[in-house]
Amino acid sequence: MSSKINRHHYHHRFNAQIFPPPCPHLAEFRARNGSKPFRALQDCLRAKSPGGRAAIRRDPSEVPRCGACGESARPRLYACVACAAISCHAPPGPSHAAVHATSMPPGHEIAVDVDRAELFCCACRDQIYDRDFDAAVVLSQITTLNSATIQSTKPENLRKRRRVDYRPWSPDLRDRVLMESGSSPLDYGSDMPRGLRGLNNLGNTCFMNSVLQALLHTPPLRNYFLSDRHNRYYCKQKNGVTNTNADGKRNACTGDGNGEKNARLCLACDMDAMFSAVFSGDRRPYSPAKFLYSWWQHASNLASYEQQDAHEFFISMLDGIHEKVEKDLRKPHNQGHGDCCIAHRVFSGILRSDVMCMACGFTSTTYDPCVDISLDLESHHGGSAKSASTKTHHSCNGEADSINSGQNCGISTLMGCLDRFTRPERLGADQKFFCQQCQVRQESLKQMSIRKLPLVSCFHIKRFEHSSIRKMSRKIDRYLQFPFSLDMTPYLSSSILRSRFGNRIFPFDGDEPDASNEMSSEFELFAVVTHTGKLDAGHYVTYLRLSNQWYKCDDAWVTQVNENIVRAAQGYMIFYVQKMFYYKPSENQVAS
């Protein structure tokens, strides 16, 4: 009876995984041993080395052997939690663990793997899972690691995004009258989706056009501007008071900016103007000249008719939008929180970086805001099977791509890149890191993970490689496979930390047991900026996904394309949006 209740109670979810209910023996064991049956075990466990796996504590020279047969070479030895007797379990041979469970009075079924610190039921002959046991293991590992983790810039405000029920809106009579009197319906003649408009090349500005096309169809950004959240006329009036003369020139922001200086510069206003133009229904190519001019003022070092890097432009223009807001509000905003400006609200996430000293296990953790994630394409394949430990030159960490080499030989995938991005990396003898606890430079282990996912993830593939040895740069033309649908769960800090501790049931960095995490870590592809050509001369083209149809935006020309063309393209910047039911690029959002 009580075991049934326990079972039910135990069927919990953790990080989108459902754990099986405990076996009757574990339920009984828990019932007999009170609320904290495994508390005493914490002292019996330790991590073998800093960052290593947990095991049962013992003398280094002590050889654990099976109490029944004296065997020590068996791979699986289990210590009974009731009497600490060690027995072996080596199917298909005899299982002395099972014998121990049956020969003793009830209560000796549960055992701990000596080398792995995992729970086993000797009667059921299977691995079992228990939240309290796992908590004891994690705590023992953390204490062995001198848990004095410093958290230099811990984002204190880590509340989950509030979930608001989506309610479709339809205008009532009053709204309708207001709308009809204040506006005229836009005419979308063709069956092309709204907002598809070519952008004229203003002299090597395909780097800008390609990124703008992606931004113009970034769902949260589009919704922001089209719902008039940044009104350029209003913005101009509000900010014009201080330094404009009273002649009240209406569209100083969109019109000529001659009279005004940098104080007037507002990239968001130019974005607003561009959104209006692009979604106006006019299909003739649009010239984003005003925007280009404003951007030149913002990034004067890049102001020329030369070819530029699309990613550099992307970063610089997001900065431009952010800076303006910063100036306006004069409020200290933490960028990572993403509530400062529309650019960061949409694109900013938080990266977590852990550096663990290999000598003492001291871990220092830092959190950094980011607006995109730059990923290395491994430059060569197969790699030497040797020395992943010593050779950690960051440009050549392509050795032995564990995920890809197994199944689809030779094809790089975005997931493979993300795996490498979040893989622990040894900072060997040549890259020693100062350990605060040892007070000297030590070899250490560095690992990146994603603390907070942005609404829109932009992955920048590092195709332009600079070699300091050869003193030359080159472009990597390697093909990269990217999925149309991407689950970011494995790269989250909570998942990375969990796997570091052996996938225990324990709440790690930022996951709450009942949070609906799995919903927000699903992403869907909506834009790909591709590059063809060489390092110094080439062309950018963007593929956009609207209403589950792909369009190729090549400066002024927009054409419908097959998705296979997109899959085969050489992605340089790949944009994903969080899957939410009202933002699906795969579906028609304009339910008229």
Partner: protein, 116 residues
């Protein structure tokens, strides 16, 4: 019960004369080597090295995929760890790259040379 907990603290060390009785009788060379490997901590190091190599060469992912496929076929509630071990052991043994085997063998050899 508290008395039981106290006994959990540490796995019992086998009684000394028992071990001696055991060792004096029939310890094979293999057993002696095994004990030497464990006592010196070399076994841990070798295991760690092997684990690293098997991850690098994709062996572990291959095994993971096999386990996944098997679990999917049987249904997630009808699979035990023993089943999985049984299924992947032959394939796992066969697919360890020769280079990894050679490296490990070399490490064991040099350990033995230094220990004897």
């Amino acid at each position: 019960m508290t008395h039981k907990r106290a006994s959990v603290k540490r796995p019992p060390t086998p009684v000394a004369d028992q071990v001696h009785a055991h060792s004096s009788q029939q310890l094979t060379l293999q057993e002696i080597i095994n004990i030497k490997l464990i006592e010196s901590g070399e076994k841990e190091r070798l295991k760690e090295l092997l684990r690293e190599r098997l991850i690098e060469c994709g062996w572990r992912d291959e095994m993971k995929a096999l386990c996944r496929a098997f679990t999917r076929r049987k249904g997630r509630n009808n699979v035990t760890v023993d089943d999985l071990v049984h299924v992947i052991t032959p394939k796992g043994r066969a697919s360890v790259p020769d280079s990894v085997k050679a490296e490990l063998l070399q490490s064991i050899r040099s350990f033995l040379a230094s220990a004897i």
